[in-house]
Amino acid sequence: MTLLEVEDAHTYYGESHILEGVSFEVEAGEVVALIGRNGVGKTTTLRTILQLTPPREGRVRYRGEDVTGRETHEIAEKGVGWIPEGRRIFSQLSVEENVRVAVPEGRNVESAVERAFETFPDLRDHRDRDAGNLSGGQQQMLALSRGLVGDNDLLLVDEPSEGLAPLIVERVAEALAAAADDTTLLLVEQNLPLALDLADRFYVLDNGQVVDEGNADETSADDERLRRYLSA
């Protein structure tokens, strides 16, 4: 079943034309990677799906329903989660409060918090600390746990390995692989080996358009075809 469908999306920041007709699909249960250089529109694609910056032309469909122009919180309520890049957490809330705010209304908060701490035992030791005081790796773990307790059917993950030490990247990758068992992932990632390792399929973005796509298992990180779009 097609879970998410982006069709010919044109998105602008003010007058600058960022996405110039992006189209792709994500099937339920898949892990799909969006790859491409800095500034080609990967993050904007995620923001377009969430309607944080709605497309001026084109459509976003979720479970076959047109959600273009809806409010962001409505998209979130339909089961789309977002793990943003950069400072990924609410730094002035405690670790536990960060997890709590991510649990949808009407769900069992305590068991969700427990589940998050089981997945990331590190977090349990720091549950009362302000999340802003955690290390970069711990913050990423927290951001991931927030995405997981949200009971999302589709998780948009933006640059999970950015700015992390290689050892931490490995743990983040394990956590993402574990998450992929229960949910569908759309992953934005510059780290090509990591992206190809996690993903089933990938799309390559360049200058606001999808220029290539393929099956991750059949493609190696050294592929000439990909390097053309990724090397600066």
Binding site: L50, L52, E71, T72, H73, I75, A76, E77, G81, W82, P84, F90, S91, Q92, L93, E97, R100, V101, A102, P104, R146, G150
Partner: protein, 375 residues
């Protein structure tokens, strides 16, 4: 001590204006939306109490219980906040501040020229028809009520056999009691899941939305809550002074004072603005003239001998003249300088800085120190 500390009358003002500053902090400090028109709610509360006490609010007699009036004033402000907020929360940042400021100035101009409030709307109405005092306590039980006010308030003699309170002291405790209760309620809301969402909105509204919160309703709810308590503060002001004027209520500089109190006391600390206003008032009084509770000026005049006062410092300027020139009536000037210094060097405010030092709320830190951290 009398030289250094503010008078009891001033402390009553510190309480109710401190409550207003706290309500300003509730919305501005915790959601990050600066409510520059907050004076509108303070004014609505103050005018509501005075108008009701003059029999000008339909269905309310002039002698309606003061506690009931305070709650009703709060509800009027809630309605006003929902109307203003529904429009204003479509904007953010400086535009939100400007549009709320606009609303409050419209109300200010309107109230200034509204004949209905009294014969001279520019100077504002006074309480004329009410015969009952403004009493705080359990409604309907006379023995559990004490009246506030500068002239009309109660005094208490022989409480528990030994304690005597003047009218000013009764006002101090009763207004203080209301402010304390309001503080605890706001504190409780901040620490509820609702309050956590407000902080999440301040940190990153997009992310809060992407978690699934309809931030518009959370912001509007917080705005209504803060308006409710701003109106209670305004109602206490009206009850204590028994007269109100547009300049002391709806005017934008009233919000300015709340902002000043919040910056000196510490944004997003809730209690901080009250300490900020206490600090401001203490300094103001310390530097003002005799008869206005002045501390420093009369003290110097009384304690420096005639000989010292007539010493010439520079070019014919004596010590006496220097004191008059630099101290007399210049409290605001020094407050202004102090404000600049606070913004530059104590950006977290008094309470914010102390909390950073001890690593958390002060009550918690003290308890940890006494009983050890792992109770």
């Amino acid at each position: 001590m009398e030289t250094l500390l503010p008078r009891v009358e001033t402390m009553v003002v510190v309480f109710y204006f401190g409550l207003f500053a706290m309500s300003f902090d509730f919305i501005s400090g915790y959601t990050g939306y600066l409510s520059f028109g907050h004076a509108a709610f303070y004014g609505a509360g103050a005018y509501f109490v005075v108008l009701a006490s003059n029999g000008k609010v339909p269905a309310l007699g002039p002698n309606t219980s003061f506690v009931a009036l305070l709650v009703l004033a709060g509800l009027v402000a809630v309605v006003l906040a929902l109307l203003i907020g529904a429009v204003s929360f479509r904007l953010s940042g400086v535009y939100f501040a400007m549009i709320t400021l606009g609303f409050s100035q419209v109300l200010y101009v309107f109230v200034r020229d509204w004949d209905f409030v009294g014969s001279n709307p520019r100077d504002g109405p006074a309480v004329l028809e009410r015969t009952d005092p403004f009493s705080i306590g359990v409604p309907g039980v006379d023995s559990l009520n004490l009246a506030i006010g500068q002239l009309a308030g109660d005094s208490v003699e022989g409480f528990l056999g030994v304690l005597n309170f003047s009218t000013a002291e009764v006002s101090y405790y009763m207004v203080g009691l209301v402010v304390l209760v309001c503080y605890f309620v706001m504190q409780r809301i901040i620490h509820s899941p609702f309050g956590r969402v407000l902080i999440a909105i301040r940190e990153n509204e997009e992310r809060a939305e992407a978690v699934g919160y309809n931030t518009f309703w959370y912001k509007l709810g917080a705005f209504a809550v803060s308006a409710f308590f701003a109106a209670i503060a305004g109602g206490l002001f009206a009850g204590f002074q028994r007269s109100v004027s547009p300049e002391e209520t709806f005017y934008f500089l009233v919000t300015g004072d709340a902002l000043l109190a919040s910056i000196i006391g510490g944004f997003a600390t809730l209690a901080g603005p009250l300490y900020g206003w206490l600090f401001d008032e203490t300094i103001t009084e310390f530097l003002s003239k005799r008869g206005e509770g002045g501390g420093l000026l009369p003290y110097l005049r009384d304690h420096l001998g005639e000989g010292t006062l007539s010493i010439e410092i520079f070019n014919g300027l004596t010590v006496q003249e220097a004191i008059d020139t630099f101290l007399n009536g210049h409290a605001e000037l020094y407050i202004g300088v102090l404000f600049v210094l606070f913004v530059l060097f104590v950006p977290n405010g008094l309470l914010g800085t102390v909390r950073d030092r001890v690593g958390g709320p002060i009550g918690k830190a003290v308890a940890d120190r006494i009983w050890g951290e792992n109770r």
